[in-house]
């Protein structure tokens, strides 16, 4: 007697997808609880952590931002293997504004976010006309080239970097700045992808020709996606710079590229919540495994391979399915 697994949407899911959501507390809670988890977790968990883990909480959030930015790019079919480009550019813009013009963080971070986004978009503009692996290739090359450029020309502090930058007034300020940024990006991007604009972006990923034949300029949309993704990455970089009081070549390091990709793939690409979840699994895990040294990157690489091959939907989609559907075994007749 053979059996197969049957998956059926819960009744409450079907009902609460529509205006009925407003009809009962149960259905409102059903919609609200999953969305409340990241808000409560990010805003109210930190006071209960020890100072050491609070710092890791902050750096996890930085990686989460980079992972969410990666996820926006992949929604338009652009695989970025160089998130460190965004981090490095953001960190250098903020760092040099603070170092040479002594602007306070409250100015440098917004300027770095926007200006960094523009710089990265211009750098990546030639590749946007191509589809497929070209974008991946160029994003892999560019951050390494930038770090070599800094090393070779000795501009912006050369190998030493820019040190002694203005720190945040208190750890709590930095904590809440980054957590609010993560939440705004997470819900903002989710909202954006649900809008008409998001539909076009998804369309470019699925079939760019048909989007073109609808009379839409896909290069313009891709440039917008890259600008948004790069801005978020540059914000993370600018924030990280003021946090460490240092801007330098490590900003272009491989860590900032591989970690967000691994987090997004483990969590589940395409949902924005997945990368957040992935970052909050992988970064603390790597902190526990700190004694392993270089082996950590090996782990990220292997995580990436295992999840791409074995569980392409990621952990978040898996959990989402469990929440929205019930499963039962039925006989195959």
């Amino acid at each position: 007697m053979e059996k197969r697994k049957e998956r059926i949407d819960r009744g409450i899911k079907a009902r609460s997808e529509d205006i009925f959501a407003l009809s009962s507390y149960r259905e409102m809670l059903y919609l609200l609880v999953p969305r409340a988890i990241p808000v409560v977790g990010l805003l109210f968990l930190a006071p209960f952590l020890s100072p050491y883990w609070r710092e890791i909480f902050i750096s996890t959030s930085v990686y989460a931002l980079l992972a969410i930015s990666w996820d926006l790019l992949i929604s338009a079919g652009l695989v970025s293997l160089g998130q460190s480009l965004f981090y490095g550019i953001g960190s250098y813009v903020a760092g040099s504004l603070n170092h040479y013009y002594s602007l306070p963080p409250i100015l440098t971070i917004p300027i770095a976010t926007v200006a960094g986004g523009i710089i990265c978009t211009i750098v990546l503009l030639p590749v946007l006309r191509l589809r497929g692996i070209y974008f991946a290739m160029v994003t892999l090359v560019v951050p390494l080239m930038f770090s070599r450029l800094v090393e070779a020309t000795r501009i912006l502090g050369g190998t030493e970097g820019l040190t002694g930058l203005t720190p945040f007034p208190s750890p709590w300020v930095s904590l809440y700045v980054i957590e609010i940024a993560v939440l705004v990006t997470l819900f903002g991007f989710r909202r954006l992808m649900g809008s008409d604009w998001g539909l076009i972006v998804k369309g470019i990923n699925d079939n760019d020709r048909s989007v073109m034949s609808a009379g839409l300029n896909i290069h313009w949309y891709k440039a917008q996606v890259v600008f948004l993704g790069a801005s978020v990455g540059c914000f993370a970089g600018a924030f990280g710079t003021h946090l460490d009081m240092f801007a330098g070549m490590p900003g272009f390091a491989l860590d900032y590229s591989i970690m967000p990709i691994a987090a997004a793939v483990v969590g589940g690409a395409g949902s924005f919540a997945g990368p957040l979840l992935g970052a909050f699994i992988l970064v603390p895990l790597s902190e526990i495994l700190r004694s392993l040294g270089a082996l950590r990157i090996v782990f990220y690489g292997m995580f990436l391979v295992i999840f791409v091959v074995g569980l392409p939907e990621g952990i978040f989609r898996f959990l989402q399915r469990k929440y929205h559907q019930f499963e039962r075994w039925v006989e195959v007749s």
Partner: protein, 290 residues
């Protein structure tokens, strides 16, 4: 000075061509962009070193061992990872990238860092041509690059496997109807690409030390040459490696060695703006360009 620059520019071009050939072969045949290419290169270097220094085998055996080992590694990667995500370009990129990182950083973890990791040069000594001195190893690199190109030319035209390679590259479905198994050819193309990486490693690495960073460098050079030349085009690879090779050497000699690394980036940017499919990437132009 000028003659010297010309000679060393040629050697540099040969190095770039050697490095890019394997990457290009795999991509041209099975459409897999092997981002673990740099890792395979480094793996074969260290593998030869281990065979030579830890196992104490004669050098020629180590060379053959490294080439065969790299080929087997390529086949293993194909069947365990690439085959499962074949056709999904983005997943292929991420999976091979992760795999390459894991392999390279594993070598770093096991402490394969330092000046003692060098491969011996084939013949000692150097040759003088007028006022230019060139050591035999660089000469051998140039010769092997030429020999390999010729070999690949005849191999893909006069052997059964070579013809099957080209058939799969041109039209996979029609090739299937002729009884050419695309999975097997895909695996073989990975094996050949990896073996070519091993050949490049064995000839080029004696010029310096074997370092994990070299893997990233090789991958970047291969990508630069392939983008400029047009992915999947052998003529393009040769032209692009000559262009970039000479451009690098001239910048290093007449400007400053620091600027050498920027040449590839500028070449990529210029080519992508003017002719996105690469210099000789005509065949794929319609597909890649949107």
């Amino acid at each position: 000075m000028l003659i010297g620059t010309l000679v060393y520019g040629f050697v540099n071009s040969a190095i770039l061509a050697l490095v890019a050939m394997g990457f290009n072969l795999t991509f041209g045949i099975s459409g897999v962009a092997n981002f673990a290419y740099g890792a395979v290169y480094i793996f074969s270097g260290f593998f030869a070193w281990i065979l030579l220094n830890s196992a104490g085998l004669p050098y020629i055996v180590c060379v053959i061992g490294a080439i065969v080992g790299a080929g087997i590694l390529g086949i293993l990667m194909y069947y365990t990872v690439i085959l499962r995500v074949k056709g999904i370009a983005l997943s292929e990129v991420m999976a091979t990238f992760g795999l390459g990182l894991a392999i390279m950083e594993l070598f770093r973890y096991f402490d394969f860092v330092g000046f003692r990791y060098t491969l011996p040069i084939f013949f000692d000594g150097s040759l003088s041509m007028g006022e230019v001195y060139i050591d035999y190893q660089r000469l051998i690199i140039a010769l092997i690059a030429i020999a390999l190109t010729t070999f690949l030319y005849f191999f893909t035209r006069y052997t059964k496997i070579g013809l099957a390679f080209r058939a799969i590259a041109q039209d996979e479905r029609t090739a299937l109807t002729f009884g050419i198994e695309s999975d097997r050819i895909g695996a073989l193309s990975m094996a050949f690409g990896s073996a070519l990486a091993a050949v490049a490693a064995i000839v080029i690495l004696p010029l310096g030390t074997i370092a994990v960073e070299g893997g990233y460098e090789v991958l970047i050079n291969a990508l630069a040459v392939c983008i400029v030349g047009g992915l999947g085009s052998t003529v393009g690879i040769l032209v692009a490696s000559v262009l970039i090779g000479y451009a690098q050497t001239f910048t290093a000699n007449y400007l400053e060695p620091h600027w050498m690394i920027l040449v590839s980036l500028i070449a990529i940017a210029v080519i992508l703006t003017i002719k996105p499919s690469g210099l000789f990437g005509k065949q794929k132009e319609l597909e890649e360009r949107v």
